[in-house]
């Protein structure tokens, strides 16, 4: 039995100023919508956010940005909104950009007890500047370190009371690795079912990684609706 939260604010209200948070999602897909709204409500400040993207002007992590709650953003593709650009240029917001695969692997490493690994991405570019590189099998690789978080906020489709999670389609993205890399992992899910109702072969995130559950309806805003015969 994992702890249940009443709403987004309830889930995140203990997150202190200055915390490092990992937040699941790719674009607006698979983001913990209500927990992000809860953070807006709690007003936690000086947050370091590790997430692939930073939302849009009026949704997702963009809301925290607008509210000046983010001190540093670590991601692979940001700047989908004007406010992001403004805060970076004015020096209010620190940004660290990481190749997407390196970001995924660094988060995975954090959850899996691997402190560092070598990867080819970024070799010979700004990304590898000042970092150790090494040649294996005649090719150059750069040493990258694990990422960790005080809290991981993720979203899944289904959970059982034991905290086992199942994701829907491309809403899986960074969520499983982020689940494992947080000291405390809170999962926002569309439905919680009784333990025993999920097939053990089909669990994407085992309950061992999850400390709390929030059942909440999702808006699931679409960034770029593209239609076949549109």
């Amino acid at each position: 039995m994992k702890k249940h939260y009443m709403n987004g604010y309830d889930a995140v209200s203990e997150i202190a100023d200055g915390s490092t948070l990992m937040v699941g999602g790719f674009g607006l897909v698979g983001i913990p919508e209500q927990m992000i709204l809860g953070l807006v409500e709690s007003g936690a400040k000086n947050l370091t956010i590790i997430s692939n993207n930073c939302g849009v002007d009026d949704w997702g992590l963009g809301l925290l940005l607008k509210n000046h709650q983010i001190k540093k953003m670590i991601g692979s593709y940001v700047g989908e909104n004007k406010e992001f650009e403004r805060q970076v240029l004015s020096g209010e917001l620190e940004v660290e950009l990481i190749p997407q695969g390196t970001l995924a692997e660094r988060i995975r490493a954090g959850g899996a007890g691997i402190p560092a690994f070598y990867t080819p991405a970024g070799v010979g570019t700004k990304v590898a500047e000042g970092k150790e590189t090494r040649v294996f099998h005649g090719k150059e690789y750069v040493l990258e370190h694990a990422l960790y978080a005080d809290y991981s906020l993720i979203r899944a489709c289904l959970a059982d009371e034991a905290g086992n999670l199942i994701y829907n389609k491309t809403a899986r993205n960074f969520n499983p690795m982020i689940a494992a890399a947080g000291k405390i992992t809170l999962a926002e899910v569309e439905n919680i079912v009784a333990t025993g109702n999920l097939n053990a072969d089909q669990i994407h995130t085992p309950g061992i990684y999850v400390q709390g559950l929030l059942e909440a309806k999702q808006e699931k805003r679409i960034e770029r609706k593209t239609i076949r015969n549109g």
Binding site: F26, G27, L28, V29, G30, N52, G75, S76, Y77, V78, G79, E80, E85, V88, L89, V95, L97, P99, Q100, G101, T102, L103, A104, E105, I107, R108, T119, P120, A121, G122, V123, G124, T125, K126, V127, C157, Y167, N168, K169, T170, A171, R172, N173, F174, N175, P176, M177, H204, K220, R221, I222, E223, R224, K225, T226, I227, R228, N229, G230
Partner: protein, 222 residues
């Protein structure tokens, strides 16, 4: 014939489609490369990989098929083909980095004669981030870059050394432009095909590095 912008894009996309062989697993970059999917011959069995965690991108959905949880790496709503699979981002980039994707077709701002690629940032402009491009250029078995042969000012985009920040060093295998197809080889750039409407001299004059000509070069190729 004066080419419109959409003519040019279609010409490049149709030529790029020929790079894709039946049985290939392919990653098409965000933007123009994504358009290539529209031109893939129906008799080819192709699986498109999306780095946000989908193997088997289908067509854009009908209005009633739209699933907000199902997007491609460009964040467009898509569908899945039969035989598709979903996975997390670490698995997706393991798949890319581990050399399992046969071909990636990416856009480019500049390509050097040694195959360096710059396609992610312009100094002074807002940095958006490299997304998955830096992983893709080191992972897929073959990297093809598609782009206009020259920029808006008519200056070459195929250069001796990239002036823009690099996405990857010595990573490009083939360049397909509206004017020519060039391979990056140990002996430098080799022209394989010249598009209709252009001469070898046109290509030489609009390409900064020295180019070599393949013994099997095709004229009026596309």
């Amino acid at each position: 014939m004066r080419q419109t912008k959409s003519n040019v894009r279609e010409r490049i996309a149709r030529r790029a489609e020929q790079e894709i062989k039946s049985g290939y697993y392919v990653n098409l970059g965000i933007g123009i490369p994504t358009l290539i999917a529209n031109y893939i011959s129906e008799d080819k069995e192709i699986v498109l990989q999306s780095e946000n965690g989908l193997l088997g991108i289908g067509e854009y959905p009908e209005e009633n098929e739209v699933d907000p949880d199902l997007i491609n790496a460009g964040k467009e709503t898509v569908t899945e083909i039969q035989g598709a699979s979903y996975f997390d981002s670490a698995e997706s980039f393991g798949m890319i980095r581990g050399g399992h994707v046969d071909l990636a077709i990416l856009g480019g701002m500049e390509v050097s004669e040694e195959g360096d690629l710059a396609n992610w940032m312009i100094p002074g402009k807002m940095i958006k981030g490299m997304g998955g491009a830096m992983d893709l250029v080191h992972g897929a078995k073959k990297i093809t870059v598609i782009m206009d042969h020259v920029n808006k000012d008519g200056a070459p985009k195929i250069v001796k050394n990239c002036s823009l920040p690099l996405t990857g060093k010595s990573v490009v295998n083939r360049i397909i432009t509206d004017r020519a197809v060039l391979d990056v080889t140990d002996n430098g750039l080799v022209v394989q095909e010249i598009a209709s409407g252009y001469t070898l001299d046109d290509i030489r004059n609009s390409t900064e590095p020295v180019i070599h000509v393949s013994s099997t070069v095709q004229y009026d190729a596309y």
